[in-house]
């Protein structure tokens, strides 16, 4: 059974204080490791897909990395607008069905 575990559950940072979110996973036949951002009352918004160990993707203050067992979402010099829940998911099977973690709720304060 595919499993995704995210840590920490919640993280509070001051503006400019860099940190990392962790996503550990077990999956048969990985068809991508996905990061999404979800704002309250909204649907998940796609951020990154990583396919193989060693791969890295960047977007503004966010950088996602992948190993064979886990992925990290690094947030550099965060701003209050980065406050959201960050979801990690793994895709498997021919239809790339997603298994999600429970998310990390990030709050960035001034």
């Amino acid at each position: 059974e595919d499993q995704v575990t995210q840590s920490p559950e919640a993280l509070r940072l001051q503006e400019g204080e860099s940190s990392s979110l962790n996503c550990s996973y077990t999956v048969s036949g990985l068809r991508g490791l996905f990061w999404y951002r979800q704002d309250p009352g909204k649907g998940p918004e796609f951020l990154f897909t990583l396919y193989s160990a060693g791969e890295e993707k960047e977007k503004e203050r966010l950088k996602a990395t992948l190993t064979k067992k886990e992925s990290f979402l690094h947030i550099t010099a965060p701003k209050p607008e980065d406050s959201a829940t960050y979801l990690c998911a793994v895709g498997a099977g021919t239809a790339s069905k997603l298994t999600f973690g429970t998310g990390t709720r990030l709050q960035v304060t001034l």
Binding site: V4, R31, G32, F34, Y36, G41, K42, G43, P44, E45, F46, T49, L87, A89, G91, T94, A95, S96, K97, L98, T99, F100, G101, T102, G103
Partner: protein, 113 residues
């Protein structure tokens, strides 16, 4: 493009009532999915479809039905609503020719009382 749209945004049902959650996408994506999201539980896959006329069960299909008569639409039917179906429902779509990422709609918040 509007992307993935869902209606209604909110709905309150009484136990035993039925309803259909609508999902439409204008991106010509063959693959579509229905998830439910409960607090602290993560999103769970209910049903998915790889094209018009083809549907299959996900992780939590009991109490739900789907149909896919067109590429654009993927409605989710709740028969005999139960309190356990109180949740936020998200529809998503994917173009398998351009990547494995799924694009989500804004969700429907359903309460069954």
């Amino acid at each position: 493009n509007a992307g993935v749209t869902q209606t209604p945004k909110f709905r309150i049902l009484k136990i035993g009532q039925s309803m259909t959650l609508q999902c439409t996408q204008d991106m010509n994506h063959n693959y579509m999915y229905w998830y439910r999201q409960d607090p602290g539980m993560g999103l769970k896959l209910i049903y998915y479809s790889v094209g018009a006329g083809i549907t299959d069960k996900g992780e939590v299909p009991n109490g739900y039905n789907v149909s896919r008569s067109t590429t654009e639409d993927f409605p989710l039917r709740l028969e005999l609503a139960a309190p356990s179906q109180t949740s936020v429902y998200f529809c998503a779509s994917r173009d398998p020719t351009s990547g494995n990422e799924q694009y989500f709609g804004p969700g429907t918040r359903l309460t069954v009382t």
